[in-house]
């Protein structure tokens, strides 16, 4: 009974997000389905139209997109991913660089940044300081096979959350 009570309290704390002092710097996306400059041009044009994107460059040979964000705008990674699908292609992986300030993270840890919650899945407990690469795990943020590995963990961590919560929640790992 007592151990259940402590587990319940611990679970609540895991969801209550910590407001982060992080800064969102940039994102890297592996784009699938591309084979030529005409399609890459469509993807890059779509990304650069996003209001919070300072600059987007797509390597025409590796199909990796580097997206640099403006520092004074709210960043929504979902819109960057959506830009790829809007152009007619899909995403193989999504990573983003956050600058952390002595932040301790562990499995299920959630931090809040500019309107969105970011929940860690399966990282080892550690203290994040400085530029850190986060890997996004939600559907459409990575290729299907990779998403299928994370899907059960995402489903488990989404239990009890409302639709409104899930709309502003990202699942990430290190």
């Amino acid at each position: 009974m007592i151990s259940f009570f402590f587990r319940f309290i611990l679970g609540l704390f895991c969801f209550f997000p910590v407001v982060s002092k992080a800064q969102f710097v940039s994102a890297t996306l592996g784009i699938n389905g591309l084979t030529c400059s005409m399609c890459s041009f469509a993807v890059q044009s779509e990304m650069e139209r996003l209001p919070f994107v300072e600059k987007a460059t797509l390597n025409l040979n590796t199909n990796i997109a580097e997206v640099l964000f403006k520092t004074d705008q709210k960043v929504d990674v979902r819109q960057v991913v959506a830009a790829v699908y809007k152009a007619g292609f899909s995403v193989g992986y999504t990573e983003a660089i956050f600058i952390f300030d002595q932040q301790t993270v562990s499995d299920q840890f959630v931090f809040y940044y500019e309107g969105f919650n970011y929940q860690f899945l399966k990282p080892a407990q550690e203290i994040l300081n400085g530029k850190t690469t986060l890997k996004f795990l939600d559907k459409k943020f990575l290729r299907k096979k990779a998403y299928n590995f994370w899907a059960p963990f995402i489903k488990e961590s989404s239990r009890g959350k409302t639709k409104a919560d899930l709309k502003t929640l990202y699942h990430v790992t290190l």
Binding site: S37, M38, E48, R49, N63
Partner: protein, 309 residues
């Protein structure tokens, strides 16, 4: 994707959402035996309604047809390819509207497999005079499925469709003419010759294509004042005319070369030649040229040249 931008066939890929494009197509061949130049032109506007749905509207024109069937049908069918016959006027021939829906999209690193369904409808303003139908020459409807595989610099696409031409009616003269229903198969191959590796968006792309066009269509039927009009009288008079009104099957090949400039504009040119029997929509060789431009909404309206070394 450039190597799947086939000059003739539609690939399964769709236009990016919110991106308009425009395409000019020109075809030319020499009519036999008159040696007169026959020219055909089309303008096509394309728009990505969603990432999976593309709409297009086309207007076509040529000097292939008269404004209407003349009163002396026998003279017309026997003589209209002869030098002594009156010149056909240049005129707008038809309007075509299309929708393409991509229902399968399997992407990998530098590869994809896609499938689409495409439907088209056309309104024609002229009398087509052959068994083989063509949207724009005929009013009608068309439906097809398309499968496209692209791996690095190579693409192959298969299109299987059915074209149902509507009956042309000239009530003032009591004529009706119907081309045959047609099933068609397109097999298209594309290969990006250069660049082998990109250094930027301004690199010139050169793609090579070979497309095989096959069709199987029913015979044409005609009535005059409600009575069937027989084409058998032309069997001995002009074999070409007679054959053009009968059911047929053929395969032709269309090799072409495509240049893509600044990743937004493509120009292609090629020639059509028969392999098995022939199409009666045109004489051979038939040359074609087309230009297609996409209008991407860029933030700064500038093309960013990116070094990829």
């Amino acid at each position: 994707m450039a190597q799947e931008l086939f000059p003739y066939a539609e690939a399964a890929s769709t236009q990016p959402k919110g991106v308009p494009g425009i395409r000019f197509t020109y075809e030319n061949y020499k009519e036999l035996p008159s040696q007169r130049a026959r020219n055909y032109g089309g303008i096509r506007l394309v728009y990505g309604l969603t990432e999976n749905l593309t709409a297009a509207i086309s207007i076509t024109g040529s000097n292939h047809h008269l404004k209407k069937f003349p009163s002396d049908l026998s003279y017309y069918f026997q003589k209209h390819h002869q030098k002594t016959f009156q010149q056909n006027p240049y005129q707008v021939e038809g309007l075509i509207a299309s929708l393409k829906y991509k229902f399968l999209n399997l992407d990998g690193h530098q590869r994809h497999f896609r499938m689409s369904l495409m439907g088209s409808a056309a309104k024609s303003f002229i009398p087509h005079d052959g068994a083989e139908p063509r949207l724009g020459d005929n009013s009608g409807a068309d439906g097809a499925w398309i499968a496209t595989l692209l791996i690095r610099r190579f693409a192959v696409s298969l299109t299987n469709g059915y074209l149902f031409p509507f009956k042309y009616k000239d009530e003032s003269q009591g004529y009706s003419f119907k081309s045959g229903n047609c099933q068609y198969l397109h097999l298209s191959f594309g290969y990006r010759l250069i660049p082998k590796a990109y250094s930027g968006y301004s690199n010139l792309n050169v793609n090579l294509y070979v497309e095989f066009i096959s069709a199987n269509y029913e015979k044409a039927t005609m009535t005059v004042n409600g009575q069937p009009y027989s084409f058998d009288i032309y069997q001995n008079a002009d074999k070409y005319i007679y054959n053009s009104l009968q059911s047929g099957t053929y395969t032709e090949v269309r090799p072409s070369i495509q240049l893509i400039f600044y990743s937004t504009t493509r120009v292609e040119m090629g020639v059509a030649s028969p392999i098995l029997n022939q199409s009666y929509l045109h004489f051979y060789p038939m040359y074609f040229v087309s230009i297609h431009k996409n209008f991407f909404k860029q933030k700064n309206n500038k093309l960013k040249v990116v070094s990829n070394k």
